[in-house]
Amino acid sequence: MKDDDLDNLEQQVEREMQLLRHLPPAEPDAACVARVQAAVERETIGVRRKRRNLTVLRSALGLAAALALAVLLTNRSLPTAAPDGGSPEATIAEWAAAWDESSTRVGELLADGLVSGSPAGTSTEQMLDDVLESLDRSLSQLEAL
């Protein structure tokens, strides 16, 4: 169908649609709208709680993974040289410092109420993402050894 034909058909259909102006309105009653709003509020609270729990779970999994790797590392013999040319001891020390910092920040965040159920704002989530990124970096350093 050509564009002109489509335009003409559209105009014709739009004119014909005026017929539906005579359709009686079908409105939800006030009680129904109130019920929907209450359900929406409950769902909002539920979704926010799930997201918060997921965030805490992510951080806990990150910690567990880091711990597992650290334990594995202590049971392995160290290579004679780190990939970046530095000494393995220095790299380990650098990682350990990053790990300490990450752990401390996660601990602070948890103590600040993430677990106890206070609303997690964007800034708090951002802080947690930073911590997880920091953990990821620490783990990357470990993997490179």
């Binding site: 489509l6 017929l19 009686p24 939800p28 129904c32 709003q37 929406v40």
Partner: protein, 190 residues
């Protein structure tokens, strides 16, 4: 509400601000309910689906990218819920067609247009409205869906075609056919 107001409301809703989400319900529930009621023909089902529509909004609004087509997104959710229900009923063999309950339920008198002061005019208006309601129930599901989306969602046919995943020409032809059928129904009733 102007576009800027809606943008701001949607931004707050995306952050799951309860007041913003309640405001969306307030703002859109009439039109969404109208679509659901006219598509299903049943007030109780329309009420359930209205609630489910807005619960989906809460769950999925983070994934909605606002490009000025919120209504298209919202009414797509509502229309899909009606289709899902029809499929579910079909699987259970309860009613293959959406129009099983059509004509059984009266639109509340309070919801009818305000009195014009002209008794004959009111009677004619009411008669026409009732015939239209009944005629809609006798259209095919696809025909009814397209003209009700145009009427309640107030979307241009181009967006409705996108929403339904069909070419614009098909959407227009289907709407034209639906309206012809409606007119024929009204003429037959005379």
């Amino acid at each position: 509400m102007d576009k800027a107001g809606l943008d701001e409301l949607l931004e707050r809703a995306r952050r799951r601000d309860p007041a913003a989400l309640a405001n969306l319900v307030e703002r859109f529930s009439s039109r969404v309910f109208g679509l659901l009621f006219r598509l299903t023909g049943r007030r109780d089902v329309a009420e359930d689906l209205l609630q489910e529509t807005f619960l989906r909004v809460v769950r999925e609004i983070e994934r909605y990218e606002h490009t000025g087509k919120f209504e298209s997104w919202l009414f797509r959710i509502a229309a899909n819920l009606v289709r899902d229900r029809a499929r579910s009923l079909g699987r259970r063999g309860e009613a293959a067609s959406l129009d099983a309950g059509w004509g059984d339920e009266e639109v509340r008198p309070a919801a009818r247009p305000a009195d014009t002061g002209d008794p004959l005019g009111r009677l004619v208006q009411r008669e026409l409205g009732d015939r239209l309601s009944a005629g809609l129930g006798r259209l095919s599901d696809a025909e009814r869906e397209i003209i009700l989306l145009r009427h309640y969602a107030e979307l241009p046919f181009r967006e409705i075609a996108d929403l339904l995943g069909i070419p614009l020409g098909t959407a227009l032809a289907r709407a034209h056919r639906a309206l012809q059928h409606l007119r024929a129904e009204l003429a037959d009733a005379d």
